[in-house]
Structure formats: structure tokens, C-alpha cells
């Protein structure tokens, strides 16, 4: 196989002094920003995007790989030491990580998380190396109807699988699709929703949308409800693991990736479900079941390894199909588009050096992460004590830098402000942000594929279903849509008025 040769070439690209320095800088920045409370990996990546604007693509993506894994790792530190996960993937890590920290075993919890990230990342990235070229090879042959079907699946999955309320998920998705419509129609050059403005004719930059929804919306929302007394972070020493800890943690580390990777690769919302599954699995398999919830090291090791592997799995669909399954992947896709590179089946052929450099630097980033973060953990812990006014002022500051730097245009700042207000309202009324981002990014691509498919079939709607692959995908979509209805029918007699679209899950605690 020439996969190995390609990978070696990738390492040759990534191991030059400049690229190595960029990877290290990315890891440090990513961890530092990811550790900051209130900043999840997606916002970290979005805020750090402008840092890479001046670089050539390969260097930029090598740095990006570091930021990506660094941000993921930083989130779990916040989880363990503050008990307040900044993002969904780190929720599970707080269940046992924080009790460990409170018992004075914070150092072990951080070490279990760090090694878990390393192991999960290495296994996940290895699976990526083995699988991605194959997926890309098959994906070259799939046509417009198949792509459109996959995108429909992504839309439905992101609105239906996650979140408490479907109708709110769809509202968010449609807002995103509307933002995606702004600009010139790619096929005919007609202006849509531009209102005659030249600024809008190029469309709204995805980076501006992402930063606005994540950073500006979040800052405004926190400002409205700022907790005047912030919770105290638990001080921590240098992470280390005793023999007994390693003995308990090594199996969860190795099991995690096989739960995380497949979930990361399919559009089912990233790390939220697999980390939870991993936690449940470890609890069932552990000899120390009673310790779970009170500080069991397996409960940190397994989910963290799972989260890291799912981040690698996400890259499979992102690189080979151009399909982002998580918010971070969505922002990364935006970064690719910024350089005029379209991830998809052809990426491995057209940008071979870049892709393999990126993959190699994922491995390098993981090593750097372990080497840098274990000694630096006490420093990261100090970041948790940053005064909140400075933190959110800083987020707004860098959000402005990022949005302005895209086109050096004040107009983008105003667009960001308006979309930021929208993000504020969405947080207030429980509209999830992720569908809006996915809609903005995939909407235009989905429209192109749909129109291409219909062009081939001469307008007949059959053109959207005429491949076995697309039919299979639509079957999955149908199951997802019908699931709440089916579940209700199975559980109890059908209610008078079945309305799966509106009925929300009532989670009474």
C-alpha cells in the first residue's frame, strides 16, 4: 500500500523546523484558549482562525491540527478542575474527574485525561490513516444525488439526534440555510438576499458567522446572566499516575477509541453520545463500580480517550466527504474554504501533500500535547482564575479581530453584530447553535448537488433517488424522523393526536 509512503512523506513535510514550531504553537494556543472557562473547542478554533491567515496552507493546517487537539484537551481540564464543562464532549469527564480533584487526586485525573487523549488520539488517527484513503476512493464514484442525500442526512441528524426540541433544531437549521443563501447564486449569478449591497454579493463569510454565533452570542448571553461570584478552581500540582492508577486506566484507554471513532465519523453529533456510552461501559466492566460518580479513574480515562478518537473520526467524513459532523469540524471546513480548498473525495489526490502533512502533524500534535501539557498543567489551572470581565472582553476583542481580518471590512463587524444578537436570542430560547452553523456551511453545497442531480435527470424528481446509496441514506433519514413516533407507539397506546414534530422530550429530573 502506498498509504505508508504517503504518511512518511507527510512526516517529512511536518517535521521541518518551521512546521514543527507551528504545531507546537498551535498546541499551546489551542490548550490555553480551550482551558479558559466558557470557551469550548469550537470557539477556540474559530477565535484562533485569523492567526493562520498569513501562513501558506500547509503550515496553516499543521498549526490548525495542534489547535484542534489542544482545544479538545483544554476543555477537559476545565471540566475536571471547575466541574463546569465548556462543551458537550467534556460533560462526562466532569462526573468523576471533579470528585477526584476535590479528593486531592486532581493530578491523577488530569494525567488520566491527558494519557487518555494521547492513546485515543493515536488509535483514532491511525484508523483515520487506514480508512480515509479507502473512503475517498469509493466516494469519488458517488454522484450528486448521493451527496445530496448525505447532506440531508446531516441536516436531519444534527436537528433530530441532539437537543431536546426538534422544532427548535429545525428553526436553527433554517436560520443557517437562510444565511447560506445570501450572495450570488453559484449557477446563474443571480443576486439573492443581497438587497443590492456589494458587500453581501460575496455572501456572508462562514468564519464571520461562526465567530458571531459562538463568541459574540456567548459573550452577550453570559453578560446578561453573569455569575458575580465565580466558582473556585481546585489548585493542582504536576499530573502523575501511580502504578495502581495505570492498572485501572489502561483498559479504558484502549477501549475508548473503538466507541469514539465510529461515532465521530457519522453525522450524529460528535463526542456527546460516545463519551456517555464509554462511561456506561466502563462502569459496567469495572470492579470498582461503587466508586463511579465519586471519583473513579476509569470514568475519566475511558470517556477522554473516546472523545479524542471521535475527534479523529470526525476528520474522516470532513476530509473525504467535506461533511462536518461537529461544530469544530464545521469551523475547520470553513478554514479550508478560506484557502480555496474544497475537502471531498478529490482532496487526497489534489492536495496530497497538504492532507498527509496535516495527518502527520496530528500525530506530532498528540506527542507535543503529552510532553507539553503534563508539566504545564499547573499553569493551565491558573488560567481558570482569570477575572471574568477580562475573559469575555477578550473574547469580544479577538472575535472582532477575526471578523475584521477576513476581508479588512467594517461591514463584516456589523454583520457579526447582527448574527451575534441572533446567537444571543437562540441561547435565550434554547435554539441549538450547531444546526445553524451546519446549515450555513452545507446549505449552498447541498443546493448545488441537488440542482446538479435534477439537471442530470432533466427535472424529474426521480433523479434524487436513483442510486442504491441514496435510497439507503434516505431510509436512515426516515427512521430518524419517525423515531419519536415509533418509540411512543411501542411504549404506550398512541395518543389522540400524534405530533412528533412538536412534542418535546420532557426530561424531569
Amino acid at each position: 500500500m502506498d498509504v505508508f509512503a504517503n504518511l512518511m512523506e507527510g512526516f517529512a513535510t511536518a517535521l521541518t523546523p518551521t512546521h514543527l514550531a507551528l504545531a507546537a504553537l498551535g498546541v499551546l494556543l489551542g490548550t490555553a484558549i480551550g482551558v479558559l472557562p466558557g470557551i469550548g473547542p469550537a470557539m477556540a478554533v474559530a477565535l484562533l482562525l485569523p492567526v493562520t491567515y498569513g501562513l501558506e496552507p500547509t503550515g496553516a493546517f499543521i498549526m490548525f491540527a495542534g489547535i484542534y487537539y489542544g482545544g479538545m484537551f483544554g476543555g477537559s481540564t476545565t471540566s475536571i478542575l471547575l466541574n463546569t464543562p465548556g462543551e458537550s464532549a467534556a460533560v462526562v469527564a466532569a462526573i468523576d474527574g471533579n470528585p477526584m480533584a476535590r479528593k486531592g487526586r486532581g493530578a491523577q485525573a488530569l494525567a488520566a485525561a491527558a494519557v487518555g487523549h494521547f492513546v485515543g488520539g493515536v488509535i483514532g488517527t491511525t484508523l483515520l490513516v487506514l480508512l480515509a484513503p479507502t473512503v475517498a476512493k469509493y466516494a469519488v464514484d458517488i454522484g450528486a444525488p448521493d451527496f445530496f442525500a448525505i447532506m440531508v442526512l446531516a441536516f436531519i441528524a444534527v436537528t433530530s439526534v441532539l437537543g431536546a426540541s426538534r422544532v427548535r433544531g429545525f428553526a436553527s437549521l433554517l436560520i443557517g440555510l437562510t444565511i447560506g443563501l445570501v450572495g450570488l447564486d453559484e449557477m446563474t449569478g443571480q443576486q439573492r438576499l443581497t438587497f443590492g449591497s456589494l458587500h453581501l454579493a460575496d455572501g456572508i463569510d462562514v468564519v464571520v458567522v461562526a465567530v458571531a454565533l459562538f463568541a459574540v452570542g456567548e459573550s452577550l448571553w453570559v453578560a446578561a446572566h453573569l455569575r458575580r461570584k465565580t466558582s473556585e478552581a481546585i489548585p493542582v500540582g504536576r499530573p502523575w499516575l501511580g502504578r495502581a492508577d495505570v492498572k485501572r486506566a489502561w483498559k479504558p484507554w484502549l477501549r475508548g477509541p473503538f466507541i469514539g471513532f465510529p461515532f465521530g465519523a457519522v453525522p450524529a453529533g460528535g463526542a456527546e453520545i460516545p463519551t456517555f456510552l464509554s462511561y456506561v461501559t466502563e462502569k459496567r466492566l469495572s470492579k470498582h463500580r461503587g466508586e463511579f460518580g465519586k471519583g473513579a479513574i476509569e470514568g475519566v480515562a475511558g470517556p477522554e480517550s473516546t472523545a479524542s478518537a471521535s475527534a479523529a473520526g470526525t476528520l474522516v467524513s470532513m476530509l473525504t466527504l467535506g461533511l462536518p459532523t461537529t461544530a469544530v469540524a464545521a469551523v475547520m471546513l470553513a478554514a479550508f474554504q478560506q484557502y480555496g480548498i474544497q475537502p471531498g473525495p478529490l482532496l487526497f489526490q489534489r492536495e496530497s501533500a497538504l492532507v498527509w502533512g496535516l495527518i502527520a502533524s496530528l500525530f506530532i500534535g498528540l506527542v507535543l500535547l503529552l510532553v507539553l501539557n503534563l508539566p504545564l498543567a499547573p499553569v493551565w489551572a491558573k488560567l481558570l482564575r482569570i477575572p471574568r470581565p477580562y475573559l469575555y472582553a477578550g473574547i469580544l476583542f479577538f472575535a472582532s479581530v477575526g471578523a475584521y481580518a477576513v476581508n479588512a471590512d467594517v461591514f463584516d463587524l456589523l454583520v457579526m453584530f447582527v448574527i451575534g444578537l441572533l446567537g444571543f436570542a437562540m441561547r435565550r430560547y434554547g435554539l441549538p447553535v450547531l444546526p445553524a452553523i451546519i446549515g450555513t456551511i452545507l446549505g449552498p453545497a447541498a443546493e448545488q448537488q441537488m440542482r446538479r442531480a435534477l439537471q442530470l435527470s432533466d427535472g424529474s424528481l426521480v433523479g434524487l433517488f436513483n442510486t442504491p446509496f441514496s435510497i439507503a441514506v434516505y431510509a436512515v433519514v426516515a427512521v430518524l424522523l419517525a423515531w419519536p413516533l415509533v418509540r411512543r407507539l411501542v411504549r404506550k397506546p398512541p395518543p389522540v393526536e400524534p405530533s412528533p414534530q412538536v412534542e418535546r422530550e420532557k426530561v424531569d429530573a
Binding site: P37, G54, S165, Y390, Y404, A405, L413, R428, V502
Partner: protein, 171 residues
């Protein structure tokens, strides 16, 4: 609905989520009106023109708005997002939000006139002030430092141009 003013106001407050429905309907209407206005006769290529998707999105927006309204009127509530620094038990602090918006827009208004080092510092200091920081020496110093360092870093090291403004000529 009763006729008294007092409970009525609180009814609207209870159901303020209907505002989201209104936004969705407005957005849907906007998309539809804009779509109808697109001339397609000469530019049409293939069976589906530039109108189709906006029409679908516009109609879907209105449908979702109606469904959401039905959910809200039946007692459904969107769950406000929690977070590490979010205290949902306190009522919304609109003064802070408005001050923050002011700081943000000040930067947008000033960046072209006085350059990024100054407008960025105003943004940071203003935002920190809005969020309750009252160190009248430390805050502006941090703001100025952050702003100048960011400017130099982006403009000189990373190669991302930011407007320097008149200050750069002096330095």
C-alpha cells in the same frame, strides 16, 4: 385571555418565545419576497433555477414558526442555555448587554478612523467596564497593552494586516 392589563403583560412575558416565531415569520417572508423578485427567464439553466431553494426555505421558515408557536402555546419552553459563568436564577441584566453592544459598535465605528490599536483598546476596556471591572488604572493599561501587542503580532509577525491609524505614523 382576560382584559386586565396586569396579567396580560405577564402573559406576554411568559410567552416571549413567540418573538422568535415572529422573527422566523419575518425572515421567511423576506426570503420569499426576495425569491419572487429574482428574474429567471434569461438566466435559467437546468430545470431548477435560483428561485427554488429560497422558496422552500422561506415556506419552511413559516411552517416551523407556526409549529414553534403551537409548541409555546401548549406550554413548551426552550431551555435557556446554562454555562460555567451563567447564573440563570438572576434576571437578565440588560444594562450590561447594552454597554457591551456599545463597546462592540464603538470599535466598528472607530477602527477605520483611529486605527485598530486605539479602537481595540476602547473595545476591551469598554467591555471589561460593562462586565463590572472597575480598576481605573489596570483596565486601560491591559486594554492598551493587549491591543498594541495584538496589532504588532498580526500586522508584522503573522502577516494579517490591521489598520494602524494615525498612531503608527507617530511611533
Amino acid at each position: 385571555m382576560t382584559t386586565q392589563a396586569e396579567p396580560r403583560r405577564s402573559w406576554w412575558r411568559e410567552h416571549s418565545e413567540l418573538g422568535i416565531c415572529a422573527v422566523l415569520v419575518a425572515l421567511g417572508g423576506l426570503v420569499l419576497v426576495d425569491a419572487i423578485r429574482i428574474p429567471t427567464d434569461f438566466a435559467q439553466r437546468g430545470p431548477v433555477g435560483p428561485k427554488a431553494v429560497p422558496v422552500v426555505v422561506g415556506v419552511a421558515l413559516i411552517v416551523v414558526a407556526v409549529l414553534l408557536a403551537r409548541d409555546v402555546l401548549r406550554g413548551g419552553r426552550g431551555e435557556a442555555e446554562g454555562g460555567e459563568d451563567v447564573d440563570l436564577s438572576a434576571p437578565a441584566d440588560w444594562r450590561t448587554v447594552l454597554l457591551l453592544c456599545g463597546a462592540f459598535l464603538a470599535n466598528a465605528a472607530l477602527i477605520g478612523v483611529v486605527g485598530f490599536p486605539i479602537s481595540g483598546a476602547i473595545l476591551f476596556w469598554g467591555a471589561a467596564y460593562a462586565l463590572g471591572s472597575r480598576h481605573f488604572v489596570r483596565d486601560p493599561l491591559i486594554a492598551a497593552g493587549l491591543s498594541v501587542v495584538t496589532f504588532v503580532l498580526f500586522d508584522n509577525v503573522l502577516g494579517v494586516p490591521l489598520p494602524g491609524g494615525p498612531l503608527v505614523g507617530v511611533l
